[in-house]
């Protein structure tokens, strides 16, 4: 038999389905033919990949599940229930009445209790009370940082689990579950050494993950000149802190960095720029976890850039650059956008 003939039998041979005579024929051909050996190896590799890709075994639902499985079926057979992809159960009238009756009782109680209270309630509000009620809501004391649009990589606010209060022009402190930082991907010249606050590089321009502080004077000057400074003007600042809760990162360490400007505490200079809101499919986000000692605990892909190899490269690069360094943040999760370009 030639290679073409053997190829017809190779799959059945690989699956152990050939009869002994044909199996021997295939084996004797394989012993002399590297081409057919390679074909057989391909079949084995493919099956291996499929099985590995399925992560081996199916997760076992557990002893209890198996123990009760047949009981559940026989119960359904006896009670005549058809379970097909659960929709809703038909309830008896008795069970249907329970929520209706309890609702009626609740309404009755509310009415009875509130009648005397309503009688005592003042019919008119004083001017002072009206003023209080109609006053605009107090400005939050959340401190927002100005963002240089050139510092931000394109990403989407929704992906960072933040809520944007458009009317206030900022973030709602209550919606922020954890501190969120953004930093562009490390590039040559702004590498891991710059990130580590412990190295003594405490100048704000050198610390991509360190919160960047602006003095009131800087803010004022920015406002007078225009919206934001450009990247060049600011001598490569490489980070932008998005927001923080009042009880969060606004500690003395920051004040030291910023020159202790108390005025900053209430400064709200936050503004989302157009770029920040623009979604780009090629932008991924890494989640960087810092442990209580300030060391890198874990880097994971929070959102894929759409290119798995780009994700992998970004992950490797960031780990390589940050491992062994000390971060000023403690027990924090940082979200770092990256793009396919970043990896180049």
């Amino acid at each position: 038999m030639n290679c073409k003939d053997i190829e017809q039998l190779l799959q059945a041979y690989h699956d152990g389905e050939l009869d002994p005579t044909q199996r021997r024929e295939v084996e004797s051909h394989l012993a002399e033919c590297p081409h057919c050996q390679a074909k057989l190896a391909e079949l084995s590799a493919l099956d291996g990949l499929l099985i590995d890709g399925e992560a081996g075994k199916i997760p076992d639902p557990g002893k209890h599940y198996w123990h009760s499985f047949s009981d559940r079926i026989t119960r359904k057979l006896i009670h005549g229930q058809t379970p097909i992809i659960r929709t809703h159960r038909v309830r008896s009238l008795k069970f249907k009445l329970i929520p209706i009756l309890s609702g009626a009782v609740a309404v009755f109680l509310v009415v009875v209790i509130s009648i005397p209270l309503l009688k005592k309630a003042p019919t008119k509000f004083t001017e002072e009370e009206v003023a209080k009620l109609t006053a605009p809501p107090k400005k939050s004391n959340v401190r927002f940082q100005k963002i240089n649009e050139n510092e931000l990589l394109e990403t989407e606010i929704d992906d960072l689990n933040l809520s944007l209060d458009e009317s206030a022009g900022g973030l709602l402190a209550g919606d922020i579950k954890e501190e969120v930082f953004m930093a562009p991907a490390p590039s040559e010249g702004t590498g891991a050494a710059d990130i580590a606050a412990s190295t003594g590089a405490r100048k704000k321009d050198d610390a991509p993950i360190i919160a960047e502080q602006e003095t009131a004077a800087e803010v004022a000057s920015n406002r007078s000149v225009g919206e934001t400074k450009t990247r060049d003007e600011r001598a490569k600042p490489s980070t932008a802190k998005v927001a923080e809760t009042p009880s969060g990162y606004a500690d003395s360490e920051d004040k030291t960095l910023a020159g202790g400007t108390a005025a900053k505490e209430t400064e709200e200079t936050w503004g989302f720029d157009r770029q920040f809101k623009t979604k780009t499919d090629q932008t991924g986000i890494l989640r960087v976890e810092i442990d209580s000692t300030g060391q890198l605990a874990k880097v994971t892909v929070y959102r894929s850039s759409g290119d798995t190899s780009a994700d992998s490269i970004a992950l490797k690069n960031y780990r390589k650059q940050w491992e062994g360094k000390i971060f000023r943040e403690r027990q924090r999760a940082l979200y770092v956008p990256f793009s396919q370009d970043t990896n180049d």
């Binding site: 038999m1 073409k4 003939d5 017809q8 039998l9 799959q11 059945a12 699956d15 389905e17 050939l18 009869d19 002994p20 005579t21 044909q22 391909e42 079949l43 590799a45 493919l46 099956d47 990949l49 499929l50 099985i51 590995d52 890709g53 399925e54 992560a55 199916i58 997760p59 639902p61 599940y65 198996w66 499985f69 047949s70 009981d71 559940r72 079926i73 026989t74 359904k76 057979l77 006896i78 058809t82 379970p83 097909i84 992809i85 659960r86 874990k298 880097v299 994971t300 892909v301 798995t308 994700d311 992998s312 992950l315 490797k316 780990r319």
Partner: protein, 195 residues
């Protein structure tokens, strides 16, 4: 062009049809409406049926619902079951058809919730690679036409012999082989970079 001669083609079928007196008794009682006897049959096949279904739907909730439904349908149709034939191919046929219909109705292609489950490796780079490989394999299998997919799943993951696949799906063994070959060829093209 040689035609593959398979080792004793009837062996697998005969093995499945080998009379198990206890099973026959349970089947006879179930045919008379004995739910307890049917419950014992369920216990015998529950893992196998669940596993086959899981291979297609890739999540516990659907696999659980479909497995229960398959057994209930089997019980309701057991009047039509011929005691001279083995129970397992009949049972599998119900389960597989139900599963494929479910996927078709829901316009789903193997919804894999497990793909997100925690990777076994602690190394994030390895974990990411593992995740990516798993996702690519899953997508490649999901892309296969259902007829090719079912043969591939039963052969590669369930390790069923050709004869058993032919019996359960009620197709000739030659068709099993050609579908398997087409499925593997398609996957090789799709996953070539990972091989």
């Amino acid at each position: 062009m040689p035609v593959p001669v398979l080792k004793d083609e009837g062996a697998a079928a005969r093995q499945t049809s080998r009379a198990d007196p206890e099973e026959k008794q349970l089947l006879a009682r179930a045919k008379n409406g004995d739910t307890e006897a049917f419950g014992k049959l369920v216990q015998r096949y529950q893992r196998r049926v669940y596993t086959v279904i899981y291979r297609f739907v890739r999540n516990h909730t659907d696999a659980d619902d479909l497995a229960q439904d398959a057994f209930i349908r089997a019980f309701k149709a057991i009047d039509r079951f011929d005691l001279r034939y083995p129970f397992s191919p009949w049972m599998y046929r119900i389960a597989i058809n139900l599963t494929l219909n479910h996927l078709k109705k829901r316009k789903l292609k193997m919804v894999d919730t497990d793909i997100e489950r925690k990777p076994s490796s602690d190394n994030p780079v390895d974990a990411l690679e593992q995740y990516q490989t798993r996702r690519k394999v899953h997508q490649a299998i999901a892309k296969l036409p259902p007829k090719l997919r079912q043969v591939l799943v039963l052969r590669v993951y369930e390790n069923w012999p050709y004869a058993q696949i032919a019996e359960v799906l009620e197709i000739p063994i030659g068709t099993v082989m050609s579908r398997l070959s087409r499925a593997r060829k398609a996957l090789k093209e799709e996953l070539g970079s990972l091989l």
